[in-house]
């Protein structure tokens, strides 16, 4: 029987049924529901599958690699920008290879629905020289996991599975298969594979490079790469991959016999199949979600630029996600005349929830801005990033996880005074702690405000590893106890909070203010649980 699930949930069930012993992850839209599904799964619980959140993507990936080292199957899950954080271990474990099957699931966010860029993770897979699988639909997302783990163990390499927002967050009926039992502990035959001192690393890197032809061969015969050549019409061939395949089929469904289609779901690219469709057709349209990876490779293969159409030729947009209309237009299909949105419709951007503690904190800071000067507030990733928008306009920067503290430090080093960094509790433990040590080490005059709502709120209020630990972490890093202040961002505390922030800005060294109030979206029970945890740890 079909079960109605999100693409993310189908993938998660696929991982459980492929016999994983653990998933490691840090929440991030659009990837979050994969781990949440496993956390909620009774089957996963009864099988003892690890699923607790990690502090960040790097710690998550390393832990997953550790599990693979023991011979068990593991999975690590993140959003596209999370792979930047984990890229150190990612690049190196391609060289070391794995023991138990290991899958890296990365969910890209073209159109930046909830992200600060549109980076295409396939380039990371190519960079690391490992296979990439790119499911097109929910059933694919389920099926591909079984295949991916087998392939990983066969090639002794981690496999990258690339999801995108529209597949992650779309539901369909999916049929589940039987579950494979978990691997037992079986340590690597030769552990030197994992000890990347230069002598061993050179050997491993050569091994990795020499696997290239094996990887291409696997792609050539993979059922995930499907070639259909049209005998009726040779004018247009379409090479497409992942979610983009759906937009192609949406347009050509009734006329599919008149088009040659190469559907790519496994990389490195199957060169022979590409050559076949290229020779067969007069023109080639490349339809892929993300950056023009396949299209660039095609230009490298063939020296006839006017035969290949795609993003580089302007037939498809280089920014934003694809949709059935942009793809239909590029393939030369008639598009319905549609009515425009009436002029009276105004934008409705996201905003902080009613009663949110971040708002009270921003109001306190805004009151100080006339005194301290404009453009001195460095922000970070989380709900509080909405403080960069009107009417608050408090935050001036938002770059990556943890950058508030380190950018504030650099600005202070340059001589800017009264510099403030605002960072959430979970973002602080994810990537803020190390930057704080930089500032403490050099006695840099910055004031770090940790807006502590005791949750990873933006992605749906997951548990934060920071709960109850912020003060002791800051003290441990070396911030003097008299300059680690705790405030409660509430309207009634407004003037007292303004005074505390002003006073800490006057202190010309590192100070930390923990603005502590649980996320308004948390249930009463959860708030009580957090209160008790904070009390127990302090």
């Amino acid at each position: 029987m079909k079960k109605l699930v999100l693409g993310n949930e189908a993938l998660a069930q696929g991982a459980i049924d492929a016999g994983i012993s653990g998933v490691y992850a840090y929440p991030g839209t659009p990837s979050t529901e994969i781990t949440e599904y496993i956390q909620r799964s009774k089957t996963a619980k009864s099988l003892g599958i690890h699923s607790t959140w990690s502090v960040n993507e790097k710690t998550a990936m390393e832990a997953a690699l550790g599990m693979s080292y023991t011979g068990k199957r593991s999975m690590v899950v993140m959003k596209h920008v999370g792979l930047n954080v984990a890229s150190d271990v990612f690049m190196n474990m391609a060289v070391s290879g794995i023991n138990g099957g290991m899958i890296v699931v990365v969910a890209d966010d073209p159109s930046m629905h909830s992200s600060q860029n549109e980076q295409d993770s396939r380039f990371y897979g190519k960079f690391a020289m490992i296979p990439i699988l790119e499911p097109s639909n929910q059933q694919d997302a389920y099926n591909v996991m079984h295949y991916a783990f087998d392939l990983s163990e066969e090639l002794k390499l981690p496999i990258l599975v690339r999801m995108v927002t529209r597949l992650s967050h779309s539901r369909a009926g999916v049929i589940f298969k039987e579950r494979r039992t978990q691997n037992g502990i079986q340590l690597p035959v030769d552990t030197t594979q994992f000890a990347l001192i230069p002598a061993y690393a050179k050997k491993q890197f050569e091994k990795l490079v020499s696997k290239k032809s094996l990887l291409i061969e696997s792609s050539e015969k993979s059922t995930y790469n499907k070639l259909c050549l049209s005998k009726k019409d040779r004018s247009l061939g379409i090479i497409t991959s992942g979610i983009a395949y759906n937009y192609v089929m949406e347009n050509i469904d009734e006329n599919k016999d008149f088009f040659s289609i190469l559907k790519i779901s496994q990389y490195p690219l199957p060169k022979e199949k590409i050559k076949e469709i290229y020779k067969h057709c007069d023109k080639i349209l490349v339809v892929e979600e993300g950056y023009p990876l396949i299209e660039e490779v095609l230009h490298n293969y063939f020296d006839e630029n006017d035969k290949i159409k795609g993003k580089l030729t302007g037939d498809l947009p280089l920014t934003g996600e694809l949709n059935p209309n942009t793809v239909g237009k590029a393939a030369g299909f008639f598009q319905e005349n549609t009515k425009n949105i009436p002029d009276i419709v105004s934008g409705r951007p996201p905003q902080l929830c009613e009663g949110c503690g971040h708002t009270d904190l921003f109001n306190a800071i805004n009151e100080l801005i006339p005194e301290i000067g404009n453009k001195k507030v460095f922000g970070d990733i989380g709900c509080y990033a909405l403080g960069a928008l009107p009417p608050l306009n408090t935050i001036n920067t938002l770059i990556d996880m943890g950058a508030s503290i380190t950018m504030a430090k650099g600005a202070a080093d340059a001589g800017l005074e009264n510099v403030i960094a605002i960072i959430g509790d979970s973002t602080f433990t994810h990537s803020g702690m190390t930057g704080l040590l930089d500032a403490v080490y050099e006695n840099t005059p910055i004031t770090v405000i940790i807006s502590d709502n005791s949750a990873v709120a933006m992605t749906g209020a997951q548990d934060s590893t920071a709960v109850g630990r912020l003060k002791s972490i800051c003290l441990g890093i070396g911030v003097p106890p008299e300059h680690v202040k705790t405030i409660v961002p509430l309207k009634k505390n407004h003037s007292a909070n303004v005074d505390i922030i002003r006073k800490e800005l006057e202190y010309k060294n590192v100070s930390v203010i923990i603005a502590q109030r649980p996320c308004v979206r948390l249930s009463r029970d959860k708030k009580e649980e957090i209160k008790q945890k904070i009390a127990a740890l302090n």
């Binding site: 109605l4 659009p30 629905h113 539901r171 395949y245 319905e336 549609t338 009515k339 949105i341 409705r348």
Partner: protein
Amino acid sequence: MNTNIIISGVGGQGILTIAAVLDTAALNENLFVKQSEVHGMSQRGGAVESHVRISDQEVYSDLIPQGKANLILSVEPMELLRHIPYLKSDGWLLTDSNPFMNIVNYPERHELYKQIKLYPHHIIINATEEAKKLGNSKVANMVLLGAASTLLPLSEESLKTAIKDLFLRKSEKVVNLNLEAFEIGKKLAQNFSEFVYS
């Protein structure tokens, strides 16, 4: 058979519940379904949408092409108009008349209704008021679903079964409340002739 439905509103207004009922009912009728939804940042009081596609054949795109929606079902009138480019030439517009005004430049209400009335296939009902009469403004979404049921290829029985399936884990009382809201919405749509705003 191929039915495309856009559900629109503001984060937190219960549009995913409407989508879940439609999905479940369609799957129970052995139809193919795809339903895309919005998670993450936009959910915080921003405009949200869900694309529901129901067919007797495989559905490819998770997104409805512009100009192909048979129905735009909105829990909020301005959000209905935001999705006009998706409307099929003979498609239907259905909305709650109640605005959700969390922005400073919200348009004049009568202007919104005037724009909606330009399309002959429209139904505007005060779903929120009907839900309040039932004692819970949250079931406005089920009033709207009941109204939509008159325009859908799904049987009333399978929609009601889906409501039961979805709400039973809460309580039988909740199930009945939602079914009652559904009935009221259905009748309002059947008897709808013109929306008058005074």
